[in-house]
């Protein structure tokens, strides 16, 4: 955000999300997660740890709520009052929703989190000063803060050998979150550029989607009409932008698609497909 940028593009800058924001998007990466297929195995979360150099904080800090799982499986009981097998667990994989009208972005005092032309909420670790305002303003609570320095404890020798060289290891005092595996997107985009072609659907696969045993997670570009994710979004009548119909307003039971907290108008990039139940 340079001064030139502010002065020259002030009107663009002021354009609200309802007018489409001021972005000229190249891609708009999005997901469709079928909760009917999710078995709550946590493979996605584990894959995320391996791919993104997430610190393993240990049991005590986990209990304190200081864990760093960018991808977490939220478990809810259908009927809390019943005993275990009858309770009916529901699982919800939750990661950064890469909102189109993200609430984390305007509040960062140093603009460490910003919107990329890919439609992602990028987090610049080197710029972050750790005011943690972004996390406070995130309705999904998917931003994780490095409360400690984990390098020594999380990757003792020779564990540091397995760190992913494509992505940095964050030190204490910095906010981090799911990037939709930006390093993989980058690699594929670079390759496509070198070969002078467009990115093909299915070419970018984030670690969570790759590791999902039931293929519950579908990833792709919603600006590419032929992509799997676009088709799914269309099929379930979920659209980009704010002021969309919430799921409850849709009459058809086959339209299972919804975005979490649609009523907050944050325009998330993740569509969930409601779980199909036998009668409860």
């Amino acid at each position: 955000m340079s001064l030139d940028n502010i002065l020259n593009h002030w009107s663009d800058y002021r354009k609200g999300a309802e007018e489409g924001g001021h972005h000229d998007y190249e891609h708009r990466w999005a997901m469709a997660i079928n909760l009917d297929l999710c078995i709550g195995c946590n493979a996605c979360s584990t894959a995320c740890y391996a791919e993104n150099n997430l610190a393993v904080v240990g049991k005590e800090k986990f209990e304190k709520g200081q864990a760093m799982h960018w991808m977490r499986i939220e478990r809810y009981w259908d009927q809390q009052e019943l005993e275990h097998p009858e309770q009916g667990a529901s699982f919800l994989p939750m990661m950064c929703q890469q909102c189109g009208a993200a609430t984390c972005e305007p509040v960062c005092p140093v603009a460490a989190t910003y919107h990329t032309p890919d439609g992602l909420n990028a987090q610049v670790y080197n710029r972050c000063i750790g005011s943690r305002y972004c996390s406070n303003n995130c309705p999904f609570r998917v931003r994780y803060f490095n409360f400690y320095s984990y390098y020594e404890s999380s990757w003792p020798e020779p564990m540091e050998q397995q760190l992913n060289p494509d992505i940095s290891v964050r030190d204490k005092g910095v906010m981090e979150k799911c990037t939709f595996c930006m390093q993989r997107i980058r690699t594929v985009k670079d390759k496509a550029f070198m070969e002078d072609r467009k990115v093909k659907d299915g070419e970018v696969v984030p670690a969570c989607a790759q590791s999902c045993p039931t293929s519950a997670i579908v990833f792709g570009d919603t600006m590419d009409d032929g992509s799997m994710v676009s088709k799914l979004w269309k099929k379930h009548q979920v659209e980009r932008g704010i002021y969309q119909k919430t799921k409850l307003a849709k009459k058809d039971a086959d339209l299972r698609g919804y975005r979490i907290f649609e009523e907050l108008n944050v325009d998330p990039s993740v569509m969930y497909l409601e779980r199909v139940r036998e009668d409860i």
């Binding site: 603009a111 309705p139 204490k172």
Partner: protein, 470 residues
């Protein structure tokens, strides 16, 4: 109906006695002073140790976790910023509306403003994950052309607080110049040198007074919008977010009212302490205390009203997140804090409605402390419960601060106490020249009243405060 009104100050008090009394308060302190100062310094040292741990180990030592990214540090920050407001109320707003009863008590209130801002400013710093990059919040000239994010309320905070701190420090200093000259003329040694420099060659000439009046009035006018805007901007930290319990339209006036409230309560506390320890009974008189207490009571009712507005709009707004949060505040894990806050903030101030209690110093002292306890809890109830119970139910959590966090918050009280204790021994905590002015004007207007009665001319009695020489 005629009412016998007590005089705010004894008009017959001699100017020389004012000088002597106030200068006496700056003489060598008694042992009790050194003990209190030592306690304050010990509190600060504890906080420094705690901050060292937090700095080297990480913010996790404060028990902060995923939903509770902010906690007591921010509550304390809002509390201290709030406390700074009443100094400005007394010194600037009451100056403009010619309420001259403020004169004997505004100096220490203005000092309180400056020191509580100095205390408040510490919290946003130590609460940063990477405090060494603090200056990135400021729009300094960077060779990479990188600017702060002007949309962020935290950046507005940085501007608002530094401006307010600078302005209130200058206001405190400028208002003290004639007094510093008195100090210069009555001291020897290092004090004479110090006051000599600070008095800026004040000789009390007509021209100097004229300039002084102008600049003082100008700064008062400048400071009032600042005071209101500072706490509105602090409230924007919350109101600009989308969190339930934070995203509330009435937050700016609510914060300003709360700020004036806790500030007035703190003024009462310090009023009683100074009156007792420095034997300022002639200046910090009971009628002035009564006026301060009435002011506090009025502000307390405004605060209560704004609270009720907030509850009502949440209740009838039917926003599910806000409503559930409000119910959780009143009945959940933090309910005891919520009810103590409402009791101290809205019920206890009714003690100030009774003349007998207003004039009973020990009661007033205890009440004022409890009012501020309520206001501290209020700040905490703003920050923490929202984070405990935001929109995402999976991340609901109850958290209380660790010993590190408590040590730093306690230390902030020591820091404030230390600064204030040093101030009262180095600078006159009662404005000598303005008390003289007050005595002079009161005497003159009383004389005019007599004259009017004698000559049977029913002309209105006007009190003039500006322009005269003292």
């Amino acid at each position: 109906m005629t009412m016998v009104t007590e005089k705010d100050i004894n008009e017959q008090i001699a100017w020389a006695k004012i000088n002597t009394d106030v200068l006496k308060s700056m003489e060598n302190p008694r042992p009790a002073y050194w003990v209190t100062l030592a306690v304050c310094i010990a509190m600060v040292s504890t906080a420094v140790v705690a901050e060292y741990i937090q700095y080297t180990v990480g913010m996790g030592t404060a028990n902060l976790n995923n939903p509770h990214m902010w906690d007591m540090y921010i509550a304390a920050f809002v509390f201290w910023i709030g406390m700074s407001h009443s100094g400005t109320l007394l010194s600037a707003i009451l100056h403009l509306i010619h309420a001259d009863w403020r004169k004997p008590i505004y100096r220490f209130a203005e000092a309180m403003t400056t020191f509580s801002l100095l205390t408040a400013g510490i919290f946003p710093m130590i609460h940063l994950g990477r405090v060494w990059n603090l200056y990135w919040v400021l729009p300094y000239v960077s060779d990479r052309g990188i600017w702060p994010n002007f949309r962020s309320p935290l950046v507005w905070d940085a501007f608002a607080i530094t401006t307010y701190l600078t302005a209130s420090m200058l206001f405190l200093f400028v208002g003290m110049i004639p007094d510093l000259a008195i100090c210069r003329d009555n001291t020897t040694g290092w004090r004479k040198k110090l006051y000599g420099i600070l008095a800026l060659g004040w000789i009390g000439s007509d021209r100097q007074w004229r300039h002084f009046r102008k600049i003082y009035l100008l700064m008062a006018c400048f400071l009032i919008p600042l005071a209101v805007s500072v706490h509105s901007i602090v409230s924007a930290d919350f109101a600009m977010s989308i969190m339930p319990g934070w995203h509330i339209t009435s937050f700016p006036p609510y914060f300003v009212a709360g700020a004036l409230y806790s500030g007035c309560a703190a003024i009462i506390t310090l009023f009683i302490l100074l009156r007792y320890f420095f034997r300022f009974e002639d200046y910090m008189t009971l009628p002035i205390m009564e006026k301060t207490a009435k002011l506090t009571f009025a502000i307390a009712m405004v605060w209560t009203y704004l609270n009720l507005i907030e509850f009502a709009s949440v209740w009838y707004g039917h926003d599910v997140y806000n409503k559930e949060l409000l119910i959780a505040k009143a009945t959940g894990a933090y309910a005891w804090i919520f009810w103590i806050m409402l009791f101290c903030g809205s019920v206890l101030p009714f003690a100030l409605a009774f003349r007998k209690l207003r004039r009973h110093m020990p009661t007033m002292f205890v009440v004022s402390l409890f009012l501020n306890l309520g206001m501290f809890f209020e700040r905490w109830m703003i920050v923490a419960p929202t984070l405990s119970m935001s929109q995402e139910p999976h991340q609901w959590d109850i958290m209380y601060g660790s010993i590190v966090e408590w040590a730093i918050v306690f230390g902030s009280f020591g820091w404030f106490g230390m600064l204030f204790l040093i101030f009262v021994k180095v600078f006159p905590s009662v404005s000598m020249y303005e008390v003289k002015e007050m005595v002079f004007h009161r005497k003159r207007s009383a004389g005019e009243e007599d004259l009017a009665r004698m000559t049977d001319h029913a002309k209105p009695v006007t009190q003039t405060t500006g322009g005269g020489s003292a």
